[in-house]
Subunit: 593 residues, 2 copies
Amino acid sequence: MAYTAPLDDMLFVLEDLCGLDAIAQLPGLEEASPDMVAAILEEAGKFAGNVLSPLNVTGDQQGLGFDDGAVTTPTGWKDAYDQLVEMGWNSPTAAPDHGGMGLPQVVNACIQEMFQGANMSFQLCPMLTQGAIEAIEGYASDALKETYLPNLVSGVWTGTMNLTEPQAGSDLAAIRSKAEPEGDHYRISGQKIFITYGEHDMAENIIHLVLARLPDAPAGVKGISLFIVPKFIVNADGSLGDLNDVRCVSIEHKLGIHASPTCTLAFGDKGGAIGYLVGEANKGLQYMFAMMNNARLNVGIQGIGVAEHATQHAVAYAMERKQGGTPEGSAPTIMGHPDVRRMLGLMASRTQAARILAYRAAASLDFAHRAEDAETRAYHQRRVDFLIPVAKGWSTELGVSSASYGVQVHGGMGFVEETGAAQHLRDARITTIYEGTTGIQALDLVGRKIARDKGEAAREIIAEMRKSADALAQMTAPGADWAALSRGVAEAAHLMSETTDWLVSQNGHEPQAAAVSVLEMFGITLGAWAMGDAALHAAKRIADGRGSKALSAKLNFAGFYMTNVFPQARGLQQIAMAGAGNVLTLQSADFGV
Amino acid sequence: MAYTAPLDDMLFVLEDLCGLDAIAQLPGLEEASPDMVAAILEEAGKFAGNVLSPLNVTGDQQGLGFDDGAVTTPTGWKDAYDQLVEMGWNSPTAAPDHGGMGLPQVVNACIQEMFQGANMSFQLCPMLTQGAIEAIEGYASDALKETYLPNLVSGVWTGTMNLTEPQAGSDLAAIRSKAEPEGDHYRISGQKIFITYGEHDMAENIIHLVLARLPDAPAGVKGISLFIVPKFIVNADGSLGDLNDVRCVSIEHKLGIHASPTCTLAFGDKGGAIGYLVGEANKGLQYMFAMMNNARLNVGIQGIGVAEHATQHAVAYAMERKQGGTPEGSAPTIMGHPDVRRMLGLMASRTQAARILAYRAAASLDFAHRAEDAETRAYHQRRVDFLIPVAKGWSTELGVSSASYGVQVHGGMGFVEETGAAQHLRDARITTIYEGTTGIQALDLVGRKIARDKGEAAREIIAEMRKSADALAQMTAPGADWAALSRGVAEAAHLMSETTDWLVSQNGHEPQAAAVSVLEMFGITLGAWAMGDAALHAAKRIADGRGSKALSAKLNFAGFYMTNVFPQARGLQQIAMAGAGNVLTLQSADFGV
């Protein structure tokens, strides 16, 4: 089922809910006028629908080849990658002085959603390269930047992030890989697992960013450094030299993303891979944390992209599949069945809400990086920090859930692989795990993002939610129950406020036991705010004579969200606040061990 | 990860919550004394753990062979099947006069849970045979019984149910397969899809039960008849004759249950397969409906079995995987992490609650079939009819959700197929679809089971729940917050009562739009009742000096369930009662089509 980029909704969210006009006035982003952005997104949508989407199913079916350390991508992938590089889609936000497009983060969020939605296995490669670019742009020396950035930005080379080791997953403090100094470089040794696109055949070189420990580095998180380890050594003239001492030992046989190589990399089996220190020694984890917002947002956006694709797939099936007619008459399509419509409504309305949240976070990244006023920058940085764990955790959980509803809408056909509905579920299932599990996002939210600042960032958002509730209460346009929407957003703000107060007042382990319920609840309440705002702006556009089918639909989906999604929030709050104690009561022995 | 049958919990539920003593006094079930049942279940547990469980992973990995109409099961499967037949496990409830064990349904529920939990792909074969036996036992002529039952009961032959056709899935009224009379038999033609174990190499013969239409049969549901169509014609002396005109055209490539052949069967390509009418003409669908309670309960039990296996798997990993230590000390296992314990608590407590519900439904099947008093039989039949859609729908949904939590507990390793956690999710995913989707169960619940009798069966259960709440309020034993448990069960009864009143008062399409939310809510509220009762009986056993680790754990899980699962019920009620209107408001155009 071909993916179609939801351009209308994306542009509506960018313009009316993310302040694209104001973003286009930030220093360095002057090119991002709404017209230019619309043109860019239209082209990106074509690439997603025409090039990436057809390869999604064939890539899943064909999978990867692996022979003696070499990974072969599925038929057509290298060609598609060449087109991506050719068209400049590899790194839309990279600075123009390194050959990037210099687009706002919020516009990149749309592009990433399209590409991830069309073909998650493929787009993981550019996504990881973007992380490598960001690390080098942010922390490497000018010499390293000059050597590595241009080819990474263009995509002639790709990048990887080498964090995980067998004993070091969620807990990176346990990293054991070593780096021995040797002249102007280091010799890296150790084993890294779960390295996405750690080896493949689509690009000339692969630039690994590797966390490792220097000799005599302090134990734990403060003794980890970041290194560039190229697959092929780059000569002084920029040409490629010898193969470095890095080897892909195996690739994983996974539930999903079958066409994305997940590699075990052995560094230093022949004496040590040559690596170059990025920034200062022992600051590697700090650099990683600084990059984490972008990476986590991108994974959240994967969840949204897959949810959108699964929704389109299920809607198409529901419009075509006939079932349940009378003996006399022809059967109606299952779109007419209330429960099918309920499932599609859950898929579509939550995807729309999560899109708004994620794009708002991306817009705040732009303001946080580029606003001229320090106070504005700080305000948006707090907002980014607060929204990211929710955008990552909630969007990926609803991505999995939407893909599962997509299977259900297809009935028995959904369980048959050829239908393609099951692939969305298999692919989406990784998104709640990598780049920090939902549990890790939730600990970040309740710990670093709420407890540490005593709820300040949360209360700033809650204040905005209350303004939205007030604005909704003033609305009188036809097509929505504004009083109900206003009450919903007001209650959402109230629940968040109560929960924030509770979290700030806790001392023991309760916040940890409650964390995921809090995260889910905040996702739902922030989603209610997003859908309330969306209805408000949709009604304004309609009143201005700029209405469309999608905007009228938005009013229905906002109403649906408030009565079919939002009511879970209070139950989740109860579970968080009253249930944490009973989580901590459970002992190993209760599980029979 | 080897499956271990939860014998202690099963026996506790049978004895204290399902009235095993009283069941063993029903006519024909006198052999089922608690001691005998314990011995039988112990043997069944060994077969599940030692024979079926090891084949679960290898069967998934190897999958099925298909060549020119012949299906090859994975290595070791035929041998395991022979053992099943040898040991008499094929059809534990079949009447002794046909060679069955004549065990109570409630004891069979335990056996099925073990075998399904250990190896769902395998146990689907006996499960389908049990359905065929039930159809023949219930409705076929004595001659057909004599010809087919002994070998089906022993398992020397297996059985299938041929309902679905490409245009007839949830809606069987659309069936087109034909049956032309020819002497003492019929010639069957048509195509059936999704036929579980429609072809395989484990048994000498396969007895297909096929829905088809006689010439001039009325249109719709009242023109469908049921036929026996053997793979090999059975000669008058009982020996096997010619191959019948039935051919396996293809098998499906599926998300899960890779070792269970899902066949497309072509009947009558060479002039018509020979078939024999079961019971009266045009009553086929009525017979199917009469068998549906058992079939649906069995699928619900699959959900519980897979949930149990996934939980055991995740607990074992959580006790072994170390992560998150300090630089100085060794890392604790992730069992110590509150969020891991929360996920395991959700898995275990809901599985336990669903087990009680399903076994209670099975116990009522025994009373409904065998109680001497007509009033008792009628009471239990109402209870069975009411509980079945909940036991099927809720148990399978939580089976999928538990398997997904199991993946999450494993982190990145959960996404790697070799770990085995993902298989539970892939396998479980079909259970909410076949034998009536969750949506179909929910329509059955709100329509046939609540609206039709104006809530009578529901109110009988609600009255029992109130008695349980009263009993909990009287408890003073240590180890549980009895007041909280009592309040929970009382609120559960109240929510069900309100929702039943609402459903009975509705006329439009609201109940259909609300149905799945109602079903989920009833699952959770009935689960609260089950866990409240379980705590009550566990405390009594402990007070009687018959305590165990599992019984003390039950008190903790009941408390956990009440604060971590039950609070979702009120939100679901709100969604059902206030959200249905907004489901019906959504139009095709809102989905962009």
